[in-house]
Amino acid sequence: MIFAVISDIHANLEALEAVLEDLRSQHIDTVYCLGDVVGYGCDPTRCLELVVEHCDIRLMGNHEYYALGLISNDYLSPVARQSAAWTQEHLTEEDIETISNFEMEAHLADIHLVHASPFEPESWRYILATQEAQRAFDCMQGTICFYGHSHLPMIFSCSTEGEIRHQVGHDFQPSDDKRYLVNVGSVGQPRDNDPKACYALFDADARTVTYRRVAYDIEKTQQKMKAAGVPELLVERLTVGQ
């Protein structure tokens, strides 16, 4: 079985469509979405529709929580707050109902899926360094946890002795004696200096993790964002992938 894991689409329809097109050539069995389908971008409704159509598992991200009004926007940067308000205004009642059915975590055999971290998933913590990874390893179930949230493709490994190491996201074959936290990167707003949409494939039989980078029509997305009044910073960062 081969499944794709996509995350952090952020209402970027062109990026999502490009990823779905790329998936058609990958002979995958299913797609799982780790959340943040909405927020930042200007096509939340269509992105939600595509995610519902194509993804067998749909998880909550913090931007879904903003959309449902479950967490305060107060701590967001002014740009992010403006964007969250834009999203709330533009979501339909059907969109809200769709989001209200997203799950917080999912478990498949020895695979754990979550948006931010298995440690307090609703706190939306960032796993960027060893200390936070340790907390995540302490709470994760199974041997591989796929997550998103930071938009940075990264891999943390934890040996049987408890030694934690991390690397930039790359294709690899998980070792039987280690556990892994695999950040699948972002479809709609990559931040690792590569503007191409990012997602990951897992081949459960061959035990391989493969990252895919997919070019999409960034300019088209940016024009739509500008026309919709999305803050300039969010538009410009797509060009450079930051």
Partner: protein, 232 residues
């Protein structure tokens, strides 16, 4: 026949349909309508019924008798007038269609069921204690509820069938997060997020509704009573 609807803080305690010419109201058990409250005098007031007219007479009570918020000594009651005595209000209905409840005694007067009233007051007291315990508003599980009490201590409390919500609800076709209760400066608001028609207040489907003390919140098959605490 005239009817008196007795309410305690807006909750209907009893409906009394009477053929008597005169009924007494007061704190002690020898009254026709017993109102157990410190603000009610032992022999607080009387109502006399004469040929389609009703007259209320205050019996020099300590805290007074009010008709439609106006203090009265003696006053003619008109249909739907509200008499306030202590924390109770008595609504005068000049022509009830008939006995509204069981419990009529031989002369046709509905005797106020003090046991029932006491039970209600005890429940009320218990709710107040709960509110004091949690320092704020509370949801009480009434039907199909996982727990008996949920403190509404967060700014947002989620209700639904997902594992990660604060208040679990049961029911067919219910959303993971079916509804939320938000704590706002004006009070608590219940907002439907999931499938339409699955979130109700006192039986009525809502999209958004302010909650009042005693409201019954139903999400799917689960019902909770909202008990309002002090504003935080």
């Amino acid at each position: 026949m005239p009817e008196i609807i007795v309410k305690y803080e807006d909750k209907v305690i009893e409906r009394i349909v009477t053929e008597k010419k005169r009924i007494s109201i007061g704190r002690t058990n020898d009254n026709d309508i017993v109102l157990e409250n410190r603000g009610v005098s032992r022999k607080h007031a009387m109502i006399e019924f004469n040929d389609n007219a009703a007259v209320i007479m205050d019996n020099e009570s300590l805290n007074g008798t009010f008709v439609n918020n106006r203090k009265v000594g003696e006053d003619v009651l008109r249909d739907q007038d509200v008499v306030t005595i202590g924390k109770y209000s008595l609504v005068y209905n000049c022509n009830a269609s008939g006995p509204a409840d069981d419990g009529s005694d031989m002369d046709g007067t509905m005797v106020l069921n003090t046991k029932k009233q006491k039970k209600m007051l005890e429940a009320d007291k218990a709710e107040r204690e709960l509110v004091a315990k949690y320092g704020g508003s509370v949801l009480l599980g009434e039907e199909n509820s996982e727990f008996a009490e949920y403190a509404l201590e967060r700014e947002v409390t989620t209700i639904g069938k997902a594992k990660f919500v604060h208040v679990k609800a049961r029911g067919f076709m219910l959303s993971g997060i079916q509804a939320k209760i938000t704590r706002e400066p004006e009070g608590y608001a219940l907002v439907n997020l999931g499938r339409k028609g699955k979130t109700r207040v006192n039986g009525e489907p809502i999209e958004r509704s302010w909650l009042k003390n005693g409201d019954l919140v139903t999400v799917g098959k689960s019902t909770f009573k909202f008990v309002e605490g002090e504003a935080q």
